[in-house]
């Protein structure tokens, strides 16, 4: 973190030398990319959330391991988004803990949780409509900036450097999600699919350790879903850990390394996709009990 950021990365020259530039390096050059897979990065321990008499999440425990794509699935109302909101600090858990790299996240303000390295997108797109696509992404990048009012008023050199690199990284991120040519449009004028991609770019801009995607494929056609799956895989390959909430079983089965299934706020399964597919409890959660079992 102490090294000065070189604002002009000569990408073309590097490419000619055969250097494979991962987006993670260009987007966040100071980041320690930990590729060690397996150890628990996020630990959700006995998480319970009650809204009055309603128990939305009941004693849910699972880990998100470094470098994996974890799917969080379940029928409507199973508590997937509630779980997300509890992890990112929107809801205060009734009991239980959320740990990131062994450090407790409970009770931290939401922006602090983001800076610790947990970024998310929204089920119903929530971009800053009156900002351009690039500005949206730069808001995310600001989470890592250190200058504030003073630096901005006096245009201090550190501030100027941060502003310049922010634009560069913002464009790199937009390019990564494939909408760089729309960088100068107001985000509310962007097509729906682009808005979803922009949300992912904005969340990546906060330089997260874990990227939480809340139904990123909602409203997509099969071709767009394919593209999204490829994008999520690339994000993982760049060293991010991904938590994915999704309804579409095909997408979930195709992209995740492991799946946690929730039903009525309880965890009913936690296994590899191919095991989940044949798990009778999961099948009954989605399709209902077979007739003869009811009797």
């Amino acid at each position: 973190m102490s090294e000065a950021i070189e604002p002009d990365i000569d990408v073309d020259a590097l490419k000619e030398q055969g250097v494979d530039l991962e987006v993670a390096e260009r987007v966040a050059p100071e980041r320690d990319i930990v590729t060690k897979v397996g150890e628990a990065l996020v630990q959700v321990q006995n998480l319970t959330i009650k809204f009055g008499g309603l128990t939305a999440l009941d004693n849910v425990t699972f880990d998100i391991n470094r470098g994996e794509i974890l799917g969080l699935i379940g029928p409507n109302g199973a508590g997937k988004t509630t779980c997300f909101n509890a992890m990112t600090g929107v809801y205060k858990p009734t009991s239980g803990k959320v740990l990131l790299e062994g450090q407790l996240l409970n009770g931290l303000p939401q922006h602090r949780i983001t800076r610790r390295g947990l970024a998310r997108t929204f089920q119903n797109i929530r971009l800053f409509g009156e900002m351009t696509a690039l500005e949206n992404v730069v808001v995310g990048l600001d989470a890592r900036h250190r200058t504030s009012i003073g630096g901005a008023l006096l245009r201090l050199p550190t501030h100027v450097r941060e502003e310049k690199t922010a634009i560069e990284r913002g464009m790199a991120l937009l390019e990564f999600v494939g909408i760089a040519d729309h960088a100068h449009f107001l985000s509310r004028h962007l097509p729906y699919g682009y808005q979803r991609r922009l949300e992912i770019a904005r969340a990546l801009a906060t330089d997260p350790k874990v990227l939480c995607l809340d139904e990123p494929a909602a409203g997509f056609n099969p071709a767009e879903k394919e593209e999204l799956m490829a994008l999520i895989r690339t994000i993982r390959d760049d060293g991010y850990t991904v938590l994915l909430i999704e309804h579409d079983m095909k997408l979930v089965m195709g992209v995740t390394d492991r799946i946690v299934v929730l039903e009525f706020g309880k965890k009913i399964a936690d296994a590899l996709p191919k095991i989940i597919r044949d798990d009778p409890k999961v099948i009954s959660a989605y399709l209902g009990e077979p007739e003869d079992d009811l009797a």
Binding site: Q110, V138, A143, R188
Partner: protein, 400 residues
């Protein structure tokens, strides 16, 4: 912000050109001067500076030119009218930070204006028993006092949102006015006479800054406005401005994207308050008399009207709106009595037909974004209508 702001259903293969057309259409619908900001942004940097310098020089020459038709004479002294207009313009610039950028509806802004006025009066007027300091020192002091109360008011209330915040600030505005009435030291309606002024005398030994001479006050305030505008521009095109606009657009999303929303809301309040205090001190110096009559709710609403009329979120629009609000009753003395009726009607009409105000402009939030955007727009010209531009890596670099 409204129900129409959700994702729009444009097919993904909509070309960049189609979106550009949509945006142009939206802007035309919003402004009285279609494409003005587009054309302005398309100008080269040097031309922009040149035009700005001409405008600034003209602004400084206004009291001497005394242009016919525009002038407020014979009803009101033109120079003093200009001085008052400039104070209102400065108020609008300050309030624009709170209302326009951060989207916090502050209906008690007059309180900060009053705090500034009283600071200037109580430390310079011979009617005041306290320490006396040179008038110019009261300007930073007024800013500091107003800023302090901005933070004091902001910290507990900025956890409220929307209408609730408006109600609390409305109350604060009244509190300051009523305190001025009931605290003996603030002298209620009797007020403070002979508020100080900046030093300096002309060749005949008369002080330059007299209450009866508007020109020096106008020049002083205009200079301060320019400095404040530059500072506001620096803030706007930085992390701070982006945080404010993000809060205005979607506070929850901003918080989750790592924006410390509470901190930046308090900053918006504090910065807005300090500019309010500064304009109050200038007002007190120019008029030379401060009592509790000037700081009522109606004035507060008038300030908000100035910002909304000029174009919420546009600092140049705020200058225009603030000057207009002060100018119209001075110029058209016959209708001055009906000014609230007229402003009310004007606001309703503006909100129906031009919801963006007189000078609607989107904030540019990236200090070095111009080049990146221009490159993109240039690239768009080269492609077939349905094609997509593939930016070469690194092409979006924002170095100017």
């Amino acid at each position: 912000m409204s129900t129409t702001d959700g994702p729009t259903l444009i097919p993904d293969d909509a070309s960049a050109q189609e979106i550009a057309d949509r945006e142009a259409k939206m802007r035309r619908r919003k402004g009285w001067f279609p494409g003005l900001s587009d054309r302005w942004n398309a100008l080269p940097r040097q031309t922009q500076w040149l035009i700005l310098i001409v405008v600034v020089v003209l602004a400084y020459l206004l009291p001497i030119l005394n242009p016919p038709l525009i002038t407020t004479e014979p009803g009101n002294n033109w120079q003093i009218a200009l001085a008052q207009m400039s104070v209102y313009a400065l108020v609008a610039v300050g309030l624009n930070v709170v209302v326009g950028y951060a989207g916090l509806l502050d209906l008690g802004y007059v309180a900060f204006f009053a705090l500034g006025s009283y600071t200037a009066a109580m430390f310079t007027s011979p009617d005041s028993p306290y320490v006396h300091i040179p008038y110019l020192w009261t300007l930073p002091l007024a800013m500091a006092v107003a800023m302090f109360f901005g933070v004091v008011l902001g910290v507990p209330t900025l956890r409220l949102r929307g209408d609730y915040l408006a109600i609390v600030t409305l109350g604060f505005g009244e509190i300051v006015r009523i305190l001025a009435t009931i605290i003996p030291a603030m002298k209620g309606q009797v007020g403070f006479q002979n508020v100080g002024h900046p030093p300096g005398t002309d060749s005949s030994g008369q002080p330059i800054f007299l209450n009866s001479s508007g020109t020096p006050w106008y020049w002083l305030t205009l200079t301060i406005i320019i400095v404040v505008l530059l500072a506001a521009g620096n803030l706007e095109r930085s992390r701070v401005g982006r945080a404010w606009i993000a809060i205005r657009e979607d506070e929850d999303a901003a918080e989750i994207m790592g924006v410390p929303t509470f901190k930046y809301k308090v900053w918006a309040f504090a910065i807005g308050a300090s500019v309010g205090g500064l304009s109050g001190a200038l007002f007190a110096g120019q008029v030379g008399f401060v009592n509790n009559q000037k700081f009522d709710i109606a004035t507060s609403i008038l300030f908000v009207a100035a910002v909304v009329m000029g174009g919420t979120g546009n600092k140049v629009g705020a200058v225009l709106g603030g000057s207009l609000v002060a100018y119209i009753p001075l110029r058209f003395t016959a209708i001055a009595e009906f000014k609230y009726l007229i402003f009310g009607a004007a606001l309703v009409i503006i909100m129906i037909f031009r919801p963006g105000g007189l000078l609607p402009a989107r904030q540019s939030l990236l200090a070095y974004g111009r080049l990146a955007y221009n490159k993109l727009k240039g690239a768009m010209g080269d492609i077939p209508a349905s094609g997509k531009v593939v930016l070469e890596p690194g092409k979006g670099s924002g170095n100017e």
